[in-house]
């Protein structure tokens, strides 16, 4: 029973990591129907920016809490800027182009950003500091779940709730929903579609930055390739949950994380990804729009 619980916590930790990245995927997909392959790279850039800024500030002798907060803010600012720029440069000129064009553009952007960071920084792994201290009162459960894990879990939940509220109740959220349902109609009723899409990218990228900082701190090291690997999994999770749906992305991530955890715990970690992808195929066969996605009826 304890083992089972341990596996559940492992699954939830992994799931919440996926979820932080998956939320950005699902938002962008919800608005413009594009698999933003470069999203994982934004996450990676967030982690790099945080590390760079933190190292510099540390050298100038700032106190640790200030370093942490400033580095996290820098990561968010720059990731958002990258997300915004990527959309402007690589996706906006392709509105209305055949469906495959933006996808190829996204793959190209992903390759470009990976190599950009590799060349400008380093191909090697860099150590990333542990940001969140482990207080003594959590020691009894430390063997099951760490402080960083709990923080990630908490942040994921808060972010999901905030996002859902944002989309349900704010003006921007309404504009987003309108844009995602029918871009032309949204434009006709006075929604500034370009701005809404830019806002979506900025929000999604900021989330990726938060994810980047927390996850890098959990793993303890970063290099230019971390975005790609995590990105593929996060995207799988988003599809599993029903891409375009915010709660779906989180649910899908947890389902994926738990599946992998149980696959490792009771079968073999060598086959965890086989289980993950097989689950994806199975779910899509029975629910073609994912767990919480809405099946769309095409107008004829």
């Amino acid at each position: 029973m304890e083992y089972f619980l341990e596996l559940v916590f492992s699954g939830l930790t992994r799931g919440s990591i996926y979820a932080l990245i998956a939320l950005g995927y699902t938002m962008v997909y919800g608005i413009i129907g594009l698999i933003n392959f470069a999203h994982g790279e934004i996450y990676m850039i967030g982690a790099f920016t945080a590390l760079i800024i933190a190292t510099v500030l540390n050298m100038y002798g700032l106190p640790l809490p200030a370093v942490l907060i400033l580095a996290a803010i820098a990561a968010i600012v720059w990731s958002a800027a990258y997300g915004f720029t990527v959309e402007r440069v690589a996706y906006r000129p392709l509105r209305g182009a055949p469906r495959l064009s933006p996808l190829i553009s996204a793959i190209g952007m992903s390759i470009f950003l990976q190599n950009y960071v590799m060349l400008a920084q380093t191909p090697n792994f860099l150590p990333f500091p542990t940001l969140i201290p482990e207080p003594a009162f959590l020691e009894p459960i430390a063997s099951m779940v760490g402080t960083t894990d709990l923080t990630i879990l908490l942040v994921t939940t808060v972010v999901m709730v905030l996002l859902t509220l944002l989309i349900k109740f704010t003006r921007t959220g309404k504009a987003m929903r309108a844009t995602s349902q029918d871009r032309t109609m949204a434009f006709l009723v006075g929604v500034n579609v370009d701005t809404v899409i830019s806002i979506t990218f900025v929000i999604g990228s900021s989330l990726a930055a938060i994810g980047g900082v927390l996850i890098a701190s959990h793993i303890g090291q970063i290099n230019f390739y971390i975005g790609f690997i995590a990105g593929i999994k996060a995207f799988t999770a988003a599809v599993l949950g029903g891409i375009g749906s915010i709660p779906g992305a989180v649910l899908g991530s947890f389902v994926l994380g738990l599946t992998e955890s149980f696959a490792t715990g009771y079968v073999s970690s060598a086959y965890e990804d086989v289980f993950a992808f097989s689950l994806l195929v199975l779910i899509l066969i029975f629910r073609p729009a994912g767990l919480l996605g809405k099946a769309s009826i095409e107008k004829v």
Binding site: G33, I35, I45, T49, L51, I52, T55, V56, M59, A74, W78, A81, T85, V89, A90, P93, L94, P98, R99, L100, S101, P102, I104, S105, I107, G108, M109, I111, F112, L113, Q114, N115, Y116, V117, L119, A120, Q121, T122, N124, L126, P127, F128, F235, T236, V239, I243, A270, Y271, D273, V274, F277, S278, L280, V281, L284, I285, P288, A289, E298, V300
Partner: protein
């Protein structure tokens, strides 16, 4: 006239400043947390600014040029626009000698160049086959397959395993590899056909990963990450060939394979099946309403595409005499997809040019090897923005009625 207005200038300045801000942490500060070193590279900021400034101005100029061309075309409404390749193919006086020269070049290639060049060209030609195969699925039928490399792996491992365990030769394995891959194509096709667009993409991606993981983990079956070595090269009536002769022989075999592929795909495209595939890409609902069985035709597309990947896989295993799972990663699928899209979806000539450019260019850009992938990514993005139809746009076949008197 192209004029750089003050507005363009200001925009370029803003762009330059924005990119200088954007790239500041990554480009200027280099941290080495293992050594606790910080290097400030302020000069990079200058380069970024200058590049962004120039790029912005050039884009503005290009937009002017494009808009002017468009308005010209609108004035000349009625005269239908003809792309360069259409003009090329419709002018036999130019097309024939150019094609003949091209054919001659490929024919005598091994005599003119070193074995290394021949080997590289053989690789590039294999990608032509792969590209043409994927073109059936993505370019013609419009089904986005991100796990195409899985079928390539199936073909390669079919030959490698049969050769290792039973000593099966290349010529026997070739059709078997194609059939195995087709079976896998149908196996994958059945569950995923209900899915549309991007869902299909992610499931095929997952399928590719599953195949790769099985090859890596199931060592008893596939020899695991160590791979399979000493695979027999293709034989020629039991004649012992020198290495150079073998390589040349492989080159000509691959040429034959490419020709066969072009022949088959060309005929398929202009047939009942090919038209149905095209129609599927254009409008799925109308396609069904016209009496085309969506399921069958999608399965056909998957199986056809997979067959070609399987055949190419057998070639790959035979050419390298050694395979391991690392050759069948997602990046390979992405590469083949890029060949198709860059070359021009649905266009045979386009895919050929796309494969040759994407495979040969990096080989000859070794000097810039570090910047190769960076340039590759940038080229993909700019191609999509400036020429989304690819290098060679697809042209439709014209048919002649027997009553018109033409053949």
């Amino acid at each position: 006239m192209n004029v750089i207005t003050i507005k363009n200038f200001r925009n370029a300045l803003v762009t330059a400043l924005w990119f200088m801000f954007l790239t500041f942490p990554i480009m200027v500060i280099k941290v080495n947390t293992t050594e606790n070193l910080i290097v400030w590279r302020w000069h990079n900021l200058l380069y970024v600014g200058a590049t962004a400034f120039t790029a912005s101005l050039l884009t503005a100029l290009y937009r002017q040029y494009r808009d002017r061309k468009r308005s010209q075309q609108q004035q000349e409404e009625g005269t239908s626009r003809v792309s360069w390749n259409e003009r090329f193919f419709n002018t036999p006086a130019i097309a024939r000698p150019v094609c003949a020269l091209g054919a001659l070049f490929f024919l005598v290639f091994p005599l003119l160049f070193s074995t290394y060049q021949v080997n590289i060209m053989t690789t590039a030609l294999m990608y032509v086959v792969l590209g043409l195969g994927l073109n059936i699925v993505v370019g013609v039928a419009g089904l986005l397959n991100l796990g195409y490399v899985a079928f390539y792996a199936v073909g390669a491992y079919t030959y490698a395993l049969l050769n290792m365990h039973y000593g099966v030769g290349f010529w026997v394995a070739l059709p078997l590899g194609g059939i195995m891959a087709a079976l896998f194509g149908i196996l994958l096709g059945f569950p995923v056909l209900r899915l549309r667009g991007d869902y299909l993409a992610i499931v095929t991606l997952g399928f590719g990963e599953i195949i790769l993981l099985v090859l890596k983990n199931w060592s008893e079956f596939s020899q695991g990450p160590g791979g399979i070595s000493n695979i027999s090269r293709p034989g020629l009536f039991n004649i012992q060939l020198s290495m150079e002769a073998t390589l040349n022989y492989q080159y000509y075999l691959t040429i034959a394979m490419v020709l066969l592929t072009i022949f088959v795909i060309n005929r398929l495209q202009n047939s009942r099946i090919g038209r149905a595939l095209f129609a599927l890409r254009e409008d799925e609902i109308a396609c069904q309403a016209m009496g085309i069985d969506k399921t069958t035709i999608k399965l056909t597309a998957f199986a056809l595409g997979a067959t070609w990947a399987g055949l190419a896989g057998v070639f790959f295993a035979a050419k390298n005499a050694y395979i391991n799972p690392d050759s069948f990663t997602f990046l390979e699928s992405a590469m083949i997809l890029c060949i198709v899209v860059l070359g021009g979806m649905g266009s045979i000539l386009g895919v050929i040019i796309g494969a040759l450019v994407l495979i040969l260019l990096p080989e000859y850009l070794r000097a810039f090897s570090d910047y190769r992938m960076l340039a590759f990514g940038a080229i993909l993005v700019s191609m999509m923005i400036f020429r989304p139809q690819g290098i060679v746009a697809n042209i439709r076949q014209s048919y002649r009625s027997s009553k018109d008197g033409a053949p």
